[in-house]
Symmetry: C4
Subunit: 271 residues, 4 copies
């Protein structure tokens, strides 16, 4: 199925659910082929990313992070359904972009893995995806106040942070979970070319060109949201980075991501 | 005494206190029979629930959690009067629904155990009860702002979160403690068929069909309250889950409770 | 000097400073006699109180806690000038009510020890005193909003929480420190018969009939302040405990202080 | 070059960048001479300062602290580009006041080291400099609300806390980083004779006569900002220290800095 077809907006939940059912049945009948084993260092980084996001308060018992398979852009790697803080290398599974597991071996998958598969499909530039319930971010997803870049560490937010409303996407009430390919596609469409989208009454999705960058963005989306709420509470007008500043700052700060990554990694793996 | 009688609303504190005194004297004279030893795994879960609630900031030196005895719906299990973080299997006592200890052996009981006994009596569906002073929840118990489901993790709040005012229940000033069967019944009546009730100037009571579910609800009542306060502080209108979304989300998320439970349990017991 | 004389309000800072100088010179010349060694269990409790207050976030590198000497109401025990978290039994010194050290042996005393001496003099019922910069409490000391009992754990605040303004007491600008007997007396006068007074632009003083109670009050003054600020931020009117409820609740909760004390003690001493 | 020339305000970024380039080329060609090894105890203090600032939440993966070389006021010591929490004695490098490394040996320098060099040049009284993204401080840098001394621990803020707007200093949009000598000079000029300046959309710079004092100021700038925001949120007018009180309090509290320093040092180095 060509990407343009796939990217079509599936409004009817019923249709989406049926498609999901069919996809699952197909997957059952015949698992997709593996792209082969990934570099153990990448698996280690994916495990570290899970633990860092927990350690930094971006995920709790819920949330997930994935990485695109370096050997095949049609595959991605993500833990089985497990609290991120408990993930080890043995829990990492391989999925195709329909989010069918290559080798489930009885392991349970996250219900919302379609977030990952559909964003990898829609965004060839994306190599890593985080879905979280980042606490300071959630209020911005249910408010009319927009999340904006308060300081240089949040510069990547400058292109605007859209809010995905699943009720609009599905054409009616859902259980709030992105549990079908159609809903995944709708979320990817809301995200567009940006690094972050909020999910109303749910959480956020954050994407990036690597695990260190997506973790950096997850952490500083949380911090920026917290500081922005505090700045707004001071009462006066708030000065945000202008677009030019944000573009330049993002480019500069982007070159320093290895610094916090090494710190976070060491701390998270020491626990 | 038939349940309908018991559920009668005892307005006079004096009457309630007298009834409590008589009940205590009866208990003294003749302790209720035991339903027999409970499964050690359930006792372990009850100990874990105590520690998790402390670890997650839902209880501090105060608060308690109980579980209905699996062998006899007229009995429940709860620690002796002790900070939840310090509870071990040896501290677990058995009570009848009048909240008389089966085998006190000189151990002190929580003053407010009637919360548990009377809810188990009024709600056959309830298998586990938490009473806490959950910090972010307390402000909603003394405010005109209602606690509402801000995101899918708090979907169980959708049926409304009533506030129990002990002064109204008792017909005058009390020491704020649910220290009589009559006050326990009044609280159970305010709770009705819901999972959570706030207690004005005091805390909350949370109920559920199992220990993992009641702990989950205790933790996410706290988180939802914190995030709701933050969302309200952003200034604009706040979009809550609608009833249909909440009903569906609760049903879906309910199936995933084992995920955080395993994480919380491992962390809490490791301390 | 009779207590009525001592309790006279010394408005002039200069006079106070002179009196303090004279007192110090006297102390230099002749240290007061010791009331004898205190029970090692009491010293252990005083060390524990120091560590608990740090562990619970009521004090940081600053703040102090003292206990009246059980053998002589004219003596009190307190650490040398040291961060509370680092205090050990060897750091405990003995003072008379003029806050002269019985046996300094070159050890430095807290500049503000007069808070303790003058409150012990003015309040025979007080056996333990805490001075802290409790973070959530400080905003109430510089605001027109009064600290009030939000829930039963803060019931002891019901008699009103006065704010000591050192500029008024001294009749002009000071360095904000209660560094003279005269300022100590002025603070004791503001405190009156109550358990807590705020100090504008500085912190608070908390008193009680024992170390567990004064620690309990220090911790729950902080928690009550934090929750009250959150309740006020929700926007509507806030319902506080009424005086009758607070009086009854304080009496009941007072009987349970051993429960958190044992928890806090165990945790604080384990670090 | 005489200080008056150096202090000239370089408005054009292009000019600044060119100057920086030239400076770097000179540095490349010929590294400045070393002032000789510093006292190992001072290096230990600098390592401790890094860790304390992380431990107290003033810096995260970013931020830096330096100390002027005791043997040569034209040199300063600072870690290579590394998260402060990870800094060890082996990471400390020596710089001249143009922020050229004396002996880089392939080690990467912080991009914003010019903050340090230019402040040491402009302020002979300054012996230690911190640059941080202190979380509670950042909202005041993007708000019209001024940071003011709420309590005696923040008395050093009394002379006013200026906000450095890099866009004004550079005459147009930048990447928000003080990455040139010209921008460092502009920041030093905004700071003037004060101990703290905020940086709009970025963080703060804090200076002092020693490492313990600059760390104390960094920590209590954060605490004062947090408490001030809370006091403002209570709704009424807030009473700040008046200038006379602040001057006296700063002088008194300044004599006690060793107390928290010993505590912080012990805790930070124990991790």
């Amino acid at each position: 199925m060509p990407p343009t077809h796939r990217r079509e907006f599936l409004r009817a939940t019923a249709l989406g659910a049926t498609a999901a059912l069919l996809a699952r049945r197909r997957a059952w009948a015949q698992a997709p082929a593996s792209a082969g084993p990934a570099d153990p260092a990448l698996i280690d980084d994916l495990v570290a990313a899970n633990r860092i996001l927990a350690d930094q308060g971006v995920v709790d018992g819920y949330g997930h992070v994935s990485v695109r398979h370096p050997a095949d852009p049609q595959r991605y790697l993500m833990s089985r359904s497990l609290a991120p803080e408990l993930v080890t290398a043995a829990d990492i599974m391989e999925y195709d972009l329909d989010s069918n597991a290559v080798d489930a071996r009885g392991r349970t998958s996250y219900l919302e893995r379609f977030i990952h598969g559909e964003i990898y499909r829609a965004r060839p530039d994306v190599k890593a995806v985080v879905h979280d319930h980042s606490p300071s971010v959630i209020p911005f997803g249910v408010s009319t106040a927009a999340l904006r870049p308060l300081y240089h560490m949040g510069a990547f937010l400058a292109g605007g942070v859209p809010v995905f409303d699943i009720k609009v996407a599905a054409g009616g009430a859902t259980d709030m979970l992105v549990r079908t390919p159609a809903l995944g596609r709708a979320l990817a469409q809301t995200l567009g070319a940006r690094p972050v989208a909020l999910m109303r009454g749910h959480g956020a999705v954050v994407v990036g060109p690597s695990l260190p960058v997506v973790v950096y963005r997850g952490v500083y989306t949380e911090v920026n949201a917290r500081l922005q709420a505090q700045a707004m509470a001071l009462g006066g007008p708030v000065t945000y980075l202008d677009d030019d500043e944000a573009r330049r700052a993002e480019s500069s700060v982007g070159g320093t991501v290895e610094r916090p990554w090494q710190l976070w990694r060491r701390k998270a793996l020491a626990r």
